[in-house]
Structures are given as C-alpha cells and as structure tokens.
Amino acid sequence: MSYKIPMGPYHPGLEEPYKLDMICEGETVQDAELNIGFNFRGIEHLAETRNYYQVIALMERVCGICSFIHTLTLCQAMEKLAGLEAPPRAQYIRVVMSELERLHSHVLWAGIAAKLMGFKTMFMTCFALREKVMDVLQAISGNRVNYSMNRVGGVNRDVEDPSSLLPLIDELEREMMRTVIPIFTTSSTARSRCAGIGILTPEKAVSCAVVGPTARASGINQDLRRDAPYAAYAEMKFEVPVEKAGDVRARLFVRALEIMESCRILRQALTDMPPGEIAVGGDKFNFVTGTATSRVEAPRGEVIYSVSWKEGSRNPARVHVRTPTYANMPAVRWMVRGARLADTPLIQASIDPCYSCTDR
C-alpha cells in the first residue's frame, strides 16, 4: 500500500521552507511532488518601483549566499543599457568576489551535507573554514553577507593590497587539502551515505536543463565562466570539473574540485590585478530604451537577469530573474525516485538548493 509523507515546509532537515510530498511504498520513494512559494516576496514587482541605486540593494537581497552574484548580473545588464563597461581593475575585483562567494557557498554546503550525513565533526570543520572565507570577504568589502560591492560601471570598493590576501587563500587551500577534501572523498561515512544515491542520469539532466555543479556531476560539461566569459574570466586559466556518475557523491566531488579551482583563479586574479580606476560613469546614468540580458555562473549554476528600461526613467520597467535552483529543483523529483526515505534530505540538499532565490 502506498502512502504520502510530507517533508516540509518546516522540517529539521531543511533550512528553508519548501515542501516535498513523497509517495512511498514501504521505505522506498515511488514519486514526489514539489511545492515552493513559501518565501515569495514579489521582488520582481518591487524592482519596478525602485530607482537605479535602490534596485541594486534590493536584488542583493534575493539571496543571502550569492548576494554579490545577483548584483553583478544585474549591474552587467544595466551597464549594457547605459553603454558603460567596467574598467579592468573592477573586472578583476568582480572575479575575486565571485570566487570567494563560490568558496563560501561550497564550504557552507559541505557543512550542511556533512550534518545531514550525521557527520557532525565535519560540519564544525566546514563552518570554521567558512568563517575564514567570510573574514576575507569582510576584509575586502567591510561586510560579511551583503557586500554592497557592485555598482553600475564598476565596484564600490578597491582591493588596496591584493597580495596581502594571498596568504589567506593559501591557508584556505591548505586546510581544504588537509581535511575537507580527503575526508569527503575517502571516508567510509561519506561514501556509504552518498555513493549511488540520488542519481540524475545525463539524459534527465539534459531534459530538465539543470545547471551548475548539478549538471556537471551528471556529465554535462558546461560553465559560463569558460563558455561565455564575463568580468575578467577570459584571462583566467582553470579547469571545469565534470563527473559522470550523477549521484550525490559526484556532486560532492565536483564541488570539492571546484573549491581548488576557485583558489587557483583567486591566486591569478589577485596576482595579476591591473592598476587603475574601479568605476566609470559618475553618479547619474542614462539608460536607453530596451532590454538587456546578462548571465553569470553562480556557485549553484547559471543566473540570468533580463532587464527592461524606458529612456529617461529612474526605475526599470521590468526585471526578470531566473536563478539556478529554479532550474535544478524540478530534477529532485527524478533524483528521489527509488531512493530510501531516509536519504531524501541529503538528496535534496545535494543540489545546494536556495529557496530564497527560487521564490524571490
């Protein structure tokens, strides 16, 4: 006899509100229904009522983890409409902040995944590391979560001595190599909880059009930093990790390898950062009538902003946001099919979901 088990909208295994109704046969999940919208704030509507400074602060609050990425994507779209291009130093600072945010997101995710595996020591280790990443973000921006770094035409704050941040990056990388990566890749706890569960086949990944590490863990070789470079990514040398297994362990491996690649990119960006101004365009902007679209590879995958403006207006006519979790979340239905009920919190966490982003 099949029965339905609701998980959420408020559940100890989920930090944000959403609901997964699982249809089970015994302990095995046969199918699942997803329900979102518990965090819906009407941000796209609000954006239409904010001027070109306020809208940046508003969109920074779409997501707590990727706040820099959201403003970067928005500012890139607004720069297209204002006919501006951020100066080279600002482009490098954008790369530095984006990669630090990726490190922050991946380490935070690793901690939560460890907690869901029942691996509390690892959870604490990851969160201690996360603090170090946040210290670097604070050293650059003065803030730990919403950084207020982006503006139309560049960035608000300079990195005054980029080389002084290199020892912090070295320390982070050392700690990752010493503890996080070996434990996640070799420990029997991680293997037994992650290997072979929550499989998303390459065919299903293509059909669901998933993005980011979720796609790369199912064998899809895509990354906007390489395929459609923005900011200063065209000048960075890095690899795009791809795994084929499509299970939770593959998603873990992809993120672990991406942490190392982020450290590599950070070292290049901090070493090669060109001198010069950090913003152009002054304080007032003239946007032309039209639509501009911008895409950025966020820690969870592709973020896309479509911004529409009417010339002479202070506020956008329309801002549409498609976040990575919005693309990845429907695939959870296929990942949990056939899984044991006890594995479902970890499976849904393996896409690193953000419902704040998804609901907007």
Binding site: K80, C208, A209, L224, S308, N315, R318, M329, P330
Partner: protein
C-alpha cells in the same frame, strides 16, 4: 556561427540573427513556438527561461524565449495579442515551472497543459503580481537617488 545558421535554416526563418547586447535575436515571424522548441531539442540547445513583458495599453504581451547553444545566448520573441500561448511543456520539460509562474503573474494561459499552483496557493487569483490594468493610472516614478545612495 555555423550552428546558428543551421539552426535558422532548420527553423525555416528567412530573417538573419541579430546580435544585440550579447544576445543573439531571431524574429520567429509566423513560426510557432512549438516548432522552435522541437528544433532546439534536435540541435541540443539548452532551454533557459521565458521572460514576459506586458505591452502598453491593450497590445498584449511579448514572451522572450531564451536558449543556450554552445555558450551563445539565443532569444526568440513572440508577441501575443490575447492571453493565450501554446505550451511547450510536453516538448521541453524544463519549461514547466516558468510557464506556471507566468500564468500566475500575468494570467497568460499556456494552452495544452494542466496547471498546479507554483508560487501561489490553490484558489489564489492569478495576474495580480505583475499584470497591470491598462485603465489604471500610471504608477508613480521611483524617487530620485538621494545623497546617501549616491555617496555610497
């Protein structure tokens, strides 16, 4: 560039691709969105999203469909005079949530599919969030940036 030309020929569209602000635009003319979705699947293009814009007065809506082809961002705008558009959900699973969301935000009906609520709850009224009443007075403009905002 070759793949874009192949795609245009497969779609049966005479007008060329136009690159504007980093997006490659193609005017679909009379070609249906379902034919576009089928060809995009054959070309292994990745569906990204649909962005809906309400046109002034009672002119209808513009729906911009975005796909990614080998890192190129493609845009195909479809203008609809009424409230209905063919669904591509059966051809493109990834379009499910965004069709449901646009239905809730603008009350646009994607024909040929069933709906479950996405951001709203069962029984909630659609078209409240982003759809504007053409007879309503214009919205007040956003305030001019103040000295504190500019000083940041």
């Amino acid at each position: 560039m070759k793949s874009l030309e192949t795609l245009r020929q497969e779609l049966g569209i005479a007008e060329p691709w136009v690159e504007n602000r980093g997006t490659w635009w193609l005017n679909p003319g009379t070609v249906s969105v379902r034919h576009v979705a089928k060809v995009m699947n054959e070309m292994h293009a990745r569906f990204i999203t649909i962005t809906a814009y309400q046109l002034p007065g009672t002119e209808g809506f513009r729906l911009e469909y975005h796909w990614d082809l080998h890192g190129r961002l493609l845009g195909l705008p479809f203008v609809i005079a009424g409230n209905a558009m063919e669904s591509i959900f059966d051809l493109c699973e990834a379009a499910d949530w965004i069709e449901r969301e646009i239905h809730e935000e603008y009350s646009i009906d994607f024909t040929g599919r069933a709906y479950e609520p996405l951001l709203l709850r069962k029984g909630d009224k659609t078209g409240v969030n982003l759809r504007e009443d053409p007879n309503a007075p214009p919205k007040p403009a956003a305030a001019a940036p103040g000295p504190k905002e500019v000083a940041k």
